[in-house]
Amino acid sequence: MGEGKLTEIRWHARGGQGAVTAAKLLAETALAQGQYFQAFPEYGPERMGAPIQAFTRISNEPIHIRSSVTNPEIVVVLDPTLLKAVDVTAGMGEDGILIVNTDEEPAAIREAMNLKGCKVFTVNASKIAQETIGRPIPNTPMMGALVKATGIISVESLADYVRKSFGKKFTEEIIEGNVKAVERAYAEVKAE
């Protein structure tokens, strides 16, 4: 990230997959690095399983803009079934970054979505979550993939922050499972 540059991220998920928590966690990690941020969900009908969006803005300078994110530089999709249900790349430019939780290769996603330009990354975050946390909640591994794909924050900062933030609410086993999920997704995310 350059000096003063504003990075805008849009999260697509279904209610219950932890997109809001991920947007929040990323904001808090940015704070720990001394950056400025905003994290906000789109409020509408909130039901388990319904398509939802959340947004994160990060910058090294104070952020004034308060409108919704319409041209994200980075799009993170937590649920592969949304690729057919929602226009996840709406407003994203040709230099955008798309990160999808799927067992498919990036090239297959590009072909299925008929994408021109932009960089596509995939990672099987649900599988990683099942194996590390014991539940297929893809939010923390997707953050590991995001960090690898964008370098927006360091993986060490993220792992440290997961430990610190989850420490208040969860057991040691769940915390370490989440840290492992971040690290595995960071290592396993596939680029084209």
Binding site: E28, Y36, F37, Q38, F40, H64, I65, R66, S67
Partner: protein
């Protein structure tokens, strides 16, 4: 950043969590509130502070906002330091008590998290709720972001209880945009807030049997008018107290607030006036258009009641054209409330810009940089003499 006299801590919190934290740090004697979206997380969080024993507050669970404000009035008349919080229909249900609280000169501090009035029913931001209450004798302070919502809460308590004011204060911030977004801001320590707000020692209380007083008596034509005059004088006087208390707060925190904020307005030819979170987006647009050589600046009102007419007229006098953006529509009137105020404020000035009114963002319609840019380009034409100023307001971002 100015040097601060105290240590502050930087946090990642929602605007509502910041307001609840400020309430906790103020530690009021009584809070009577009823939850309503998007205010709910303030009462929720504050109820946690009560349940965890982190405040000494008597928390009154009420069955409606009508009862909430009634309980606040009773508690405040009894001499307690009182706070509450609401939104939209909740504020509407408080209606008949709002003017009683101010007429009884009760220093109640209330957050109103701005949300569109029904109907149709909507939970998102516009300013129609608090604009409807603008003539109720309350001081109204608008906040752009979580930092200002937090700071205004602490400042409001001092303003309300100041002996020259003794009036209720309403603090406004934008529903969801500010209330539910996690933002970065600086907070004071509990002790600093405690010492800043000080102890509330009411001059007269309902329960003072040694010096009995009547609160809220009947006033026939022989007395009513004078009571209303006294209220006008007190509300006008709140302006100086807002300046004084904000200055003192600024010396403590390094964050300086006035009656309004001027952003790149000094050398501007075009001005934009907008309240709340959209002022942030307007700053972003001003920065962008300045790079392109457009001499545009922003005036963001902070104190809306009492309205600082003379000061605003003065701050706008050097401009060629001004766009006033309202997040509420005063239907049947010339335009939105801020537009009408600003235009009236300028009428008797010899040096005054052309003024155009715009309504935007009703019911939470997103207002992005493109809409603000359109507005600035519109007044550029007026400033350049390409177009004559129009009397009617323009509704922007609305589907035809």
């Amino acid at each position: 950043m100015a040097k601060t006299a105290v240590k502050t801590r930087t946090v990642a919190m929602t605007g509502n969590a910041g307001c609840a934290l400020a309430m906790k740090q103020i530690n009021p004697d009584v809070v009577a509130a009823y939850p309503i979206t998007p205010q709910t997380t303030i009462v929720e969080e504050f109820a946690n502070y009560v349940a965890n024993g982190q405040v000494d507050t008597e928390y009154v669970n009420v069955e409606s906002e009508h009862s909430a404000m009634s309980a606040c009035i009773g508690a405040s008349a009894a001499g307690a330091r009182v706070m509450t919080t609401t939104s939209s229909q909740g504020l509407a249900l408080m209606w008949e008590e709002l003017s009683i609280a101010s007429a009884m000169r009760l220093p109640i501090v209330m957050h109103n998290v701005n949300r569109a009035l029904s109907g149709p029913i909507n939970i998102h931001c516009d300013h129609s709720d608090s604009m409807g209450a603008r003539d109720m004798g309350w001081v109204q302070l608008f906040s752009e972001n979580a930092q200002e919502a937090y700071d205004n809460t602490i400042i409001a308590m001092r303003v309300a209880e100041h002996e020259d004011v003794l009036l209720p204060v309403m603090i406004l911030h934008d529903g969801f945009i500010t209330s539910h977004a996690i933002d970065r801001f600086d907070i004071l320590g509990d002790d600093e807030v405690k010492s800043f707000v000080g102890e509330y020692i009411p001059k007269r209380t309902l329960l003072d049997v040694d010096d009995p007083a009547t609160f809220g008596p009947f006033a026939m034509p022989a007395f009513y008018y004078e009571q209303r005059k006294a209220l006008r004088v007190a509300l006008d006087g709140a302006k100086d107290v807002v300046i004084k208390v904000s200055k003192e707060y600024g010396e403590l925190t390094g964050r300086m607030y006035g009656l309004f904020e001027e952003y790149k307005l000094d050398d501007a030819e075009l001005g934009i006036i907008v309240l709340g979170s959209t002022a942030g987006t307007a700053k972003y647009v001003v920065d962008r258009m300045r790079v392109e050589g457009v001499k545009v600046g922003l005036l963001k009102p902070r104190l809306f009641r009492p309205f600082p007419s003379a000061e605003i007229a003065d701050a706008l006098s050097h401009l060629k054209a001004v766009a006033v953006m309202d997040r509420s529509d005063s239907i049947g009137a010339l335009g939105g409330p801020v537009y009408v105020e600003v235009k009236a404020a300028l009428y008797n000035s010899s040096k005054r810009p052309a003024v155009q009114g715009y309504v935007y963002g009703l019911g939470g319609r997103d207002t992005g940089p493109d809409q603000i840019e359109t507005v600035i380009n519109d007044i550029k034409k007026v400033a350049g003499g390409e177009e004559a100023p129009r009397e009617t307001v323009t509704l922007i971002g609305v589907k035809e």
